[in-house]
Symmetry: C2
Subunit: 282 residues, 2 copies
């Protein structure tokens, strides 16, 4: 398996693969891989001849006071996992390689970035679209696979790819959960045992909301209140948002007509966890 550290090398590798008529896939990650990432790699492998996994903790998508420095890193373990999963290349540039002195370009998606995580992390998605554009240009994949846990991120990236006419198939994969329902996340390691237990209220309340919709509840305020109540009853979660939105525009919706996404972000201690579920009326 190839380890690539520079844009120049990455271009050369990708060009060689493409010239050999290979289909190239990319799974962009911030490392500290878990079963969720592995599910993305498996899907990417199904769809390609050459799997590139990028590992880069992207400073510009973290706001002031967020966990950029603390974000868990373990390259050797990640490398072993990618190798075992059949990856062909890890692209792991340094921060100086990605943002050298004089760096000054941003990619911005205006509308689908505004709600949800965009409300309390106003510069987050500019950082995401900028780094993903860079990774796409460095790797030039035919297909890129992202997790649906970051529902808004996936929506934002699809919008960028469409708007900027990138010739890349962006695929979303279902959330992978622990046996008890907690959505897998590199940030789960921040949780104390008590927080870990209380964090179950996220997935459990979302599953309950799904059942309520199937039973006829269409008023999103009722659903949101149910979820908020369940999380607050743990006495530990500090809610950033709980919202029901249109799956395409990500605008708030007050009634569920056909389908909608219920998304939430909740702090447990220093861990900010996100989760979501698509609600369908039938």
């Amino acid at each position: 398996m190839k380890i690539v550290r520079t844009v120049h090398e990455m271009h050369a590798f990708s060009k060689r693969m493409r010239n050999a008529a290979k289909i190239v896939s990319l799974v962009p990650t911030m490392g500290f891989l878990h079963e969720g990432h592995l599910s993305l790699m498996r899907e990417a492998e199904k769809r390609s001849d050459v799997l590139v996994v990028s590992i880069f903790v992207n400073p510009i998508q973290f706001g002031p006071g967020e966990d950029y420095e603390a974000y868990p890193r373990n390259f050797d373990r990640d490398k072993e996992m990618v190798e075992r999963a059949g990856g062909d290349c890890i692209y792991a540039p340094s921060v100086a390689e990605m943002y050298p002195e004089g760096y000054q370009t941003r990619v911005q998606v205006a509308q689908v970035t505004q709600n949800l995580c965009g409300l309390t992390r106003p510069t987050h998605f500019d950082g995401v679209t900028t780094v993903v554009a860079k990774l796409f240009n460095a790797v030039t994949p035919h297909v890129a696979v992202f997790g649906e846990k970051d529902f808004q991120q996936l929506r934002v990236i699809k919008q960028m790819v469409q708007d900027l006419n990138m010739d890349i198939d962006v695929v979303g994969m279902p959330i992978v959960r622990e046996a008890d329902g907690l959505a897998m996340s590199s940030r789960n390691r921040y949780l104390s045992p008590e927080e870990r237990k209380a964090a179950l209220s996220l997935s459990q309340s979302l599953f309950e909301a799904r059942e309520m919709v199937l039973s006829g509840e269409k008023n999103t305020a009722v659903l949101e209140n149910h979820v908020r109540g369940k999380i607050e009853s743990t006495g530990m979660g500090r809610i950033d948002y709980v919202k029901v939105c249109d799956t395409l525009t990500l605008q708030d919706c007050s009634r569920i007509e056909d389908e909608a996404v219920m998304a939430l972000a909740v702090y447990f201690g220093k861990a900010r966890l996100i989760d979501n579920i698509v609600l369908r009326t039938g």
Copy 2:
């Protein structure tokens, strides 16, 4: 010669060429082609197997009150010129194809966009980088050729390509001038015979400034005053700016150490003309 109107078709054409191991070049234009554009095409052909010329008058790089509607267009004449010049493909998407409903993405270069044309056209370069990113992604050229008349545009695009890790060789070509020195521009057709004559003061004063520098003048205020004086003495030009800047950062400089660019923008009637010259001390 192929005429392509959609992103989808453009991707397919480019993929076919790349899969056949052809080197693809792009000359992005707003049409109403002149000898300046032809010089770009000739250079692009030297460097590639397949020449794509894009023709698109990009609404988002025009500000309110600028000449988007009036900008000269003549597709049949352009088509003939590209064909005669040996072009292989014209990419001429509609505005609705480029900016469909729901479009919401921008590419922004922060620093080299601020001075010169950025001072009075604050949204111009966001429009340029966004459309050029889209054209690059649609055509996926190996090489793209731009004119040096738009000195700042070329600098901005090189910065974008480097920052976003695009695997594209961006080439700048010298300004092509009329026999009497006026820089070629599609906007020259706006000029009345009197304005056309007065507009000669632009290139003539720039040439004089170059001579002054070769004779030892290093004070940029002296050079700028000379150029301003010559343009104002025509009684017709309304100066937007006359500046001497660092060729890389495009920051104003007060003394010429080694080299610098002298750039100007001047209105003659409704025509806003730009020109520039690189000043070297020896």
